[in-house]
């Protein structure tokens, strides 16, 4: 047993640290460190910088043009990016659809789709949830009918994160009503510029249009955009979930945000109030414990000795922690968290802040974080999964 990273791992971390320091635009990290609004351009600029270095697909194996890093190296890369104030990479392309294309797509599809994902040129969206299919995703209805060399897609997807920027969308669609709901689902890639696709933003409780409804009205999709076999899409989607491991806990971002919480509490004069201070201390213990759990998973993956099946626990704990730090920051702001000045979340805004500039985004971030225990399989669904593992049935 050894808590410390090896000399090689530390050298790797230093290299990443130096590269991020030299390449992450300061206007972007300023926004991230202060929870200001990030534009499509900000997100894509950083994605393309990573893409040029070959690191946008930082989890990719070498054969597909990735760096071929092991679990620890991936973690260190994510940590250095998060602590430096890099925006979260929008995962739909490089983290979510690319591994499915690699594992189940054909050579033609590899050639056609992966380069645009790796470079950050093409913005991908996810089309899973539907108005009637949230936690019960397998009940989805959006239909794809095969006609000759095309699928005709009709139906609706929802909660499509940043779908307003999307150029391509990977969808779970119903291709059969035979048998169990899971067995009639296919995995289809759809060009969002196709006639019949329409996107309508949904404004969330923080006032931001973060998600969208996407409609498909007789959309023609070439059959060559089907991944793998028809009616096997559910299996592919589950493969994706199984490969979504430790980064679901987002512990690196939590460490960065804990630092911000301490800065805000000091600025608001509440850091030395022991009742408030103890709440920060409790959160700090939670974050260290989560980080230890993440490190245990990484160690198990590296050695291959004892697999550690705690993905559900990491999702539950990570999301609870995200909600807690955003809540404590809002409470640290006190009455100055009440004003809702929409423009004050733009970097460089020249208007008069109520209180200090750091107060403007606090309540909005708290409201936004309510999503974390709902998406990606709600925490109650995660508890079902954990219980099944613990109880063996």
């Amino acid at each position: 047993m050894d808590l410390n990273f090896t000399a090689e791992e530390l050298a790797f971390r230093r290299d990443i640290h130096d590269w991020v320091a030299a390449n992450l635009p300061q206007d972007i990290s300023h926004k991230v460190h202060n929870a200001l609004r990030l534009s499509r351009d900000d997100l894509q600029r950083w994605a393309k910088i990573l893409g040029k270095q070959g690191w946008l697909g930082w989890g990719w194996p070498k054969q597909f043009g990735g760096p071929g890093w092991n679990a620890v190296q991936k973690h260190l890369f994510e940590e250095e990016c998060a602590l430096a104030g890099a925006p979260r990479v929008i995962p739909f392309g490089p983290v979510m659809v690319a591994p499915v294309i690699m594992a189940f797509g054909n050579a033609e599809q590899h050639k056609r789709f992966l380069p645009g994902i790796a470079s950050g040129e093409v913005w991908w969206s996810q089309g899973y949830s539907e108005p009637g299919s949230g936690s019960d995703l397998a009940s989805l209805k959006c239909k794809a009918e095969r006609r000759g060399d095309k699928y005709i897609v009709n139906g609706q997807k929802t909660w499509t994160t940043l779908g307003q920027y999307g150029e391509w969308i990977f969808c779970l669609v119903r291709t059969s009503n035979e048998g169990k709901p899971q067995t009639g689902i296919s995995f289809l890639l759809i060009d969002m510029k196709s006639p019949g696709v329409s996107v309508r933003p949904i404004v969330l409780l923080d006032g931001e249009p973060e998600v969208n409804e996407v409609w498909f009205d007789n959309v023609e999709v070439p059959a060559e955009n089907l991944i793998g076999e028809e009616n096997k899409g559910w299996t592919y989607a589950k493969h994706l979930l199984a490969h979504e491991r430790t980064n679901i806990a987002d512990v690196n971002r939590a460490k960065r945000e804990l630092e911000r919480l301490k800065r805000i509490a000091k600025a608001e004069g509440i850091y030395d109030d022991m009742r408030f201070r103890d709440q920060i201390a409790l959160l700090e213990v939670d974050i260290v414990a989560l980080e230890m759990m993440v490190l245990r998973v990484l160690s198990a993956e590296k050695s291959g000795k004892a697999a550690l099946d705690v993905a559900g626990l990491l999702k539950i704990r990570g999301s609870e922690i995200q909600q807690r730090y955003s809540e404590l920051m809002m409470l640290a702001g006190g009455p100055y968290s009440v004003p809702f000045v929409h423009e004050a979340m733009e970097a460089g805004w020249q208007g008069d802040h109520v209180g200090a500039a750091h107060n403007a985004p606090l309540a909005g971030t708290f409201f936004n974080m309510r999503k974390t225990t709902i998406y990606g399989g709600s925490n109650e669904v995660q508890r079902n999964i954990v219980a099944q593992t613990v109880l063996g049935a």
Binding site: M1, L282, I287, M292
Partner: protein, 375 residues
């Protein structure tokens, strides 16, 4: 970064587990508790296995192992709900004696290693709560030697011990870090009033009236902190072992006990509860590793890590203990069934070496701008 155990550590774990399986059934524990909680015989058996010499240098007849091995053994003793003062006698005391003059080490460590002597820390005083610097017992130099006067409370296995290590003030005011000496006092020099504890063992009120004392060190505060940290790390591991077993017992019960014609494991309210229990168990295990792996760091980092771990363990022990009793229903609150004994031990562990609020205060006091496993 590597959280795998070595083959030697796994063998050590197996050896303890085999002894528990063969020699320490629940019936034996229950009978010991019923008879008043005397466990010196159990401690002697641990000595025969060599375990009481775990942390003692080989030169003094021990195994010279470190914090990870102590964690492995403590986890297994927890799993077996072994009521013997192992952390106190075999881990805390050798750490304290590491600050003693060579002759004192040579006189005592071999006897501790083979369990022929049980020496325990007698440090708690009325009103001290969990502060290690709150020492009102006095030490006086007299005729080339020392005497100690004062009263110490809830000394583990106090009436079964052969000697005590006593923090006593040679100088300074009652809450000063400086001026605290550590002394070894043999039982002949102590007045001891023993009693059973809630978790099936014994403790004692121990007082000294100008008792002849052997000096360990005149600068005792730092080594006292270090020894207590070793005790906390061991108790964190013991708690993980206990919780591991208690959760397993609870899962078995949920899969067999039927109500409304189906097993308890059928009900979603209970399934979600056991998922939350599993969460607390894994967080606790993670922080138990953290505590033991930080034992070698410099005092400020070590103390902070130990308190962080202890906060997590305190929260986990309370949740896992209470909820596993609740998940059992009525059988969980009976004396004849093992679950209540795990629960009582978990509950009492919180009050050894500082409760959760005490350690939360320590974490609060030691907050830095950055945080995390490597901060």
């Amino acid at each position: 970064m590597d959280f795998d155990f070595t083959d030697d550590q796994e063998s050590l774990r197996d050896a303890v587990r085999r002894w528990v399986d063969k020699g320490f059934s629940f019936e034996r524990r229950h009978a010991l508790a019923k008879a008043g909680g005397a466990t010196r015989a159990v401690y002697t058996e641990l000595g025969e296995l060599g375990l009481t010499g775990l942390a003692i240098p080989e030169a003094h007849g021990g195994m010279g192992f470190g914090a990870v091995e102590a964690m492995v053994v403590s986890e297994e003793l927890g799993r077996g709900l072994v009521n013997a003062p192992y952390a106190h006698g075999a881990l805390v005391t050798p750490t304290l004696l590491s600050a003693a003059p060579a002759a004192v080490q040579a006189a005592w460590l071999p006897k501790i290693a083979d369990a022929s002597a049980l020496v325990v820390l007698a440090h708690q005083e009325r009103q001290a709560r969990y502060r290690l610097n709150h020492v009102s017992a006095r030490a006086t130099a007299a005729g080339g030697g020392w005497t100690v006067s004062g009263a110490k409370s809830v000394v583990p296995a106090g009436d079964e011990a052969d000697a005590f290590i006593v923090p006593a003030r040679a100088a300074g005011a009652v809450d000063d870090d400086a001026g605290i000496g550590l002394f070894l006092v043999e039982k002949a020099g102590a007045q001891v009033r023993g009693y059973p504890t809630q978790d099936g063992a014994r403790a004692a009120e121990v007082s000294f009236d100008k008792a002849a004392a052997t000096l360990i060190t005149e600068n005792g505060h730092a080594v006292l902190e270090h020894a207590v940290d070793a005790g906390i790390a061991a108790q964190c591991a013991e708690a993980v072992g206990i919780m591991d077993k208690l959760v397993a017992v609870t899962v078995d019960y949920m899969n067999t006990r039927k109500q409304f014609g189906v097993t308890l494991a059928t009900f979603q309210a209970l399934r979600h509860r056991i998922a939350d229990v599993k969460m607390q168990l894994e967080l606790a295990r993670s922080m138990s590793y953290f505590a033991s792996l930080k034992m070698g760091e410099a005092a400020p980092q070590r103390r902070r890590a130990i308190s962080q771990a202890r906060v997590q363990l305190g929260n986990s022990m309370r949740f896992v203990g209470q909820q596993c009793i609740q998940l059992h229903g009525g059988i969980g609150v009976t004396d004849e069934y093992i679950a209540s004994h795990y629960f009582k031990r978990l509950t009492m562990l919180e009050m050894g070496f500082g409760d959760t609020l005490h350690h939360l205060g320590e974490v609060s006091r030691r907050l830095q701008d950055t945080a995390g496993v490597f901060a």
